[in-house]
């Protein structure tokens, strides 16, 4: 088949056009001007989860229309937000969390919310989470705190009704269970440091009066050296052979399955697993506070405020007012009730979440009082810290390095990232 020059050129042009057409389609986007203020909102909760809030807000504020977009947590969300901020397509309201808060504050992308009326009832721990130099940059309304989930029937076999309050007593209980032929405890370090050292560290900082909100502004970031004492105490459980060193290769699901099947007496996890335990037939379980380092320290938990909502710092005029209205709504009784129904432990003053019976103790003693700590929340470069903690802790548990080396390696990673 022969083509003359005209046909060939036309074909080439059509081919070129066909390649460009999809690209051109990306750039479009019609927006009907309805006379409403359009507020863009980027969330890491999907549309199904966010829609009830948006619908309710729009019902209460008919002059504002939410332009919702979603990106799943956490790396994808951070990447999306980062691209939009740098590309001058910043959302008006977005999620601020431990992994991006330092960068958002450093680069001035988030508005100071300290004196906003809707911040009045936000708990201090939730404010501290997104604070710097006394200024608060996000609104977080709920928190989580981990604890020790225990099998009541297995503990009963050694004459104990619930896990004890201090670490030494906890180790003694583990020994007792082990001697009775019961696997006492299981955790996972496949994804990072165990939850226990953070609980100890929170109590140590509280006892020493350390202002955790200032840790990120220190010139030298030393989470390894800071948490060394807590890690040393935690490693006792491995050194005494009370937990398998296979925890480096055990996933959270593996751990949960073992517990649900009655193969282990205690595990350490958080409220997100309650659904599984409630559904497990015949499982008689409880949820206790994490043990304290010793009698001189309080019972802290590993825990954290949930991600907050932030307002883009360059907003002004009607858009800013609309954004403030949205945050006011998200901290209102109506929105908090909706959030509580989803299982979130609300920490806003004057609001009590209806939590399940097993969680009541930890909710009252740790969540509502703010007695929880998560190391990656308070240091610079939390992603670097997370990665370093995961790899170094696995080597520590495998017995390849000592606690001192662990601390040194973690701090070296932090120094290299600065």
């Amino acid at each position: 088949m022969k083509f003359n020059k005209t046909i060939k050129t036309a074909l080439a042009a059509i081919a070129a056009g066909a390649m460009l057409f999809p690209l051109a389609a990306c750039g479009g986007g019609s927006s009907a001007d309805s006379g409403k203020i359009k507020l863009s909102y980027l969330s890491w909760n999907n549309e199904q989860m966010s829609k009830p809030y948006i619908d309710e807000f729009e019902k209460e504020n008919p002059d504002v229309e939410i332009d919702f977009s979603y990106s799943p947590p956490t790396p994808e969300y951070i990447q999306t937000l980062q691209t939009r901020l740098v590309g001058n397509q910043a959302p008006d309201v977005f999620v601020i969390t431990s992994e991006n808060k330092t960068d958002l504050m450093d680069n001035g992308y988030v508005k100071d919310l300290t004196d906003e009326p809707f911040m009045k009832n936000i708990s201090q721990a939730n404010k501290d989470f997104v604070s710097r130099d006394g200024k608060v940059y996000g609104m977080s309304t709920s928190s989580w705190a981990s604890g020790i989930v225990y099998n009541k029937d297995l503990l009963k076999k050694v004459g104990v009704s619930e896990p004890p309050a201090t670490w030494d007593e906890f180790l003694a209980l583990c020994k007792k269970l082990k001697n009775a032929g019961i696997t006492p405890y299981l955790e996972t370090v496949a994804d990072g440091l165990s939850r226990i050292p953070d609980a100890f560290q929170g109590a140590i900082f509280a006892k020493n009066g350390v202002d955790v909100t200032k840790l990120a502004t220190k010139d030298k970031q030393t989470p390894g050296a800071d948490e060394k004492e807590a890690v040393k105490a935690w490693m006792e459980i491995y050194e005494q052979g009370l937990v398998t060193r296979d925890t480096v290769g055990i996933s959270g699901d593996d751990m949960k399955t073992q517990f649900v099947n009655g193969q282990v007496a205690m595990i350490c996890t958080g409220p997100w697993d309650f659904g599984t335990f409630q559904e497990a037939s015949g499982l008689n379980w409880g949820y206790a506070q994490m043990p304290a380092l010793d009698k001189d320290h309080e019972n802290y938990a590993q825990g954290s405020p949930s991600p907050g909502l932030a307002i883009y710092s360059k907003l002004s005029g009607d858009k800013l007012k609309a954004a403030e209205k949205f945050l006011t709504f998200m901290s209102s009784k109506k929105a908090l009730e909706m959030s509580s129904k989803e299982g979130n432990a609300i920490t806003v003053e004057g609001f009590d979440s209806s939590v399940i019976d097993q969680f009541k103790d930890v909710y009252a003693k740790n969540v509502q009082t703010g007695k929880y700590y998560l190391n990656t929340n308070f240091y610079k470069n939390p992603d670097v810290l997370n990665t370093a903690l995961q790899a170094e802790t696995q080597q520590l548990v495998q017995g390849q390095i000592t606690v001192d080396q662990w601390a040194k390696n973690v701090d070296q990673k932090m120094a290299a990232a600065q």
Partner: protein
């Protein structure tokens, strides 16, 4: 016909220069037409490959953090950090080990497998499909599935089977060496089917006369394999090893989904390091420096491998 020949005889003698010019013009016109056809893909190549490549090179000399376009020139600082980071060097070690062992392992198993699959036997098509099927799911999905199979718990699939024979739980993914073994084993297992199919295509193109002549000359099966099959398969071996080596050097999905690079850094890879440091930790400068170095290193390794493969294939020609 005779009239046209006569007419041609009456034409003035062809000016060679004009003829060449006309041919050149025609060539240019053809080239221009080809260019229009190539333009779309060229545009895509420039926008999606060349521009990011140049940008990566540029970022590697800056402290770009992804949040602010006000970046500072830091010279070779990022490159120094890459070379002084022990985790990256460990990642490089495992990446090279993975690429070489997987390349050798797949090649050594896939060729005999292809020879077997090329023979006539009952259910041949089913067996061919079965082996090919292993390579259909992505390695990321394979990693997630095998993570449960190789769970170090007593309840892990492999450990459950071993316990039947009285063998205690093996710490598959919680021991550094065993974790490396598991990742490499699955990579080989998952890829042999695809590469065997590739070799099968080359095997089917070998003329049967060669084997008939060799049989007449008294060559046994092994001699036929060494002196006929292998040399005839050389183009296939070059293609397969090139794909395995380049794919192996940029591996990310399988080790990440199985072990997240652990225990420690035992299954950490260079690509994971680039993604983690560059995107995950917003250290675009370091991530870019690592990507540039890795791009060069991969290029050198792949060209070396192609050169060696070509030398070997020439030896067999």
């Amino acid at each position: 016909m005779s009239e046209s020949i006569a007419a041609a005889r009456n034409l003035p003698p062809l000016n060679e220069q004009a003829y060449r010019r006309r041919r050149r013009m025609k060539g240019l016109r053809d080239d221009l037409t080809s260019f229009w056809f190539l333009l779309p893909i060229l545009a895509v190549f420039v926008v999606l490959f060349l521009v990011p490549l140049v940008q990566t090179l540029m970022f590697s000399f800056t402290d770009f953090n992804g949040y602010s376009m006000n970046m500072n020139w830091v010279g070779l600082e990022n490159y120094k950090k890459v070379f002084s980071d022990s985790s990256t060097l460990q990642g490089l070690g495992f990446t090279i080990l993975y690429a070489i062992v997987v390349m050798v392992g797949v090649t050594v198993i896939a060729i005999p497998l292809a020879v077997v699959l090329n023979r006539k036997f009952v259910g041949r098509n089913f067996v061919r499909s079965l082996f090919f099927f292993f390579s259909v799911p992505s390695l990321a999905i394979m990693g997630m599935v095998w993570k449960y199979i190789f769970s170090p718990m007593q309840t892990g699939v492999v450990n459950s089977v071993l316990s039947v024979f009285g063998i205690g739980p093996v710490p598959w993914l919680s021991n550094s060496k065993l974790a490396q073994f598991c990742v490499i084993f699955i990579a080989i297992w998952a890829q042999i089917g695809w590469h065997a199919t590739l070799y099968l295509a080359f095997l089917q193109a070998i003329p049967a006369d060669l084997y008939e002549q060799a049989t007449v000359d008294g060559a046994n099966k092994l001699q036929q394999f060494v002196h006929i099959t292998l040399p005839q398969l050389m183009p296939g071996i070059v293609t397969s090893t090139f794909l395995l080596m380049s794919g192996g050097l940029k591996v990310y999905d399988l080790p990440f989904t199985m072990t997240k690079g652990g225990p420690g850094y035992s299954t950490y890879t260079v690509t994971q390091s680039i993604i983690q440091q560059g995107i995950g930790q917003s250290q675009y400068g370091i991530g870019s420096a690592l990507a540039v170095l890795f791009f060069i290193a991969t290029g050198v390794v792949v060209f070396l491998q192609m050169g060696i493969s070509n030398l070997i294939s020439r030896r067999f020609q």
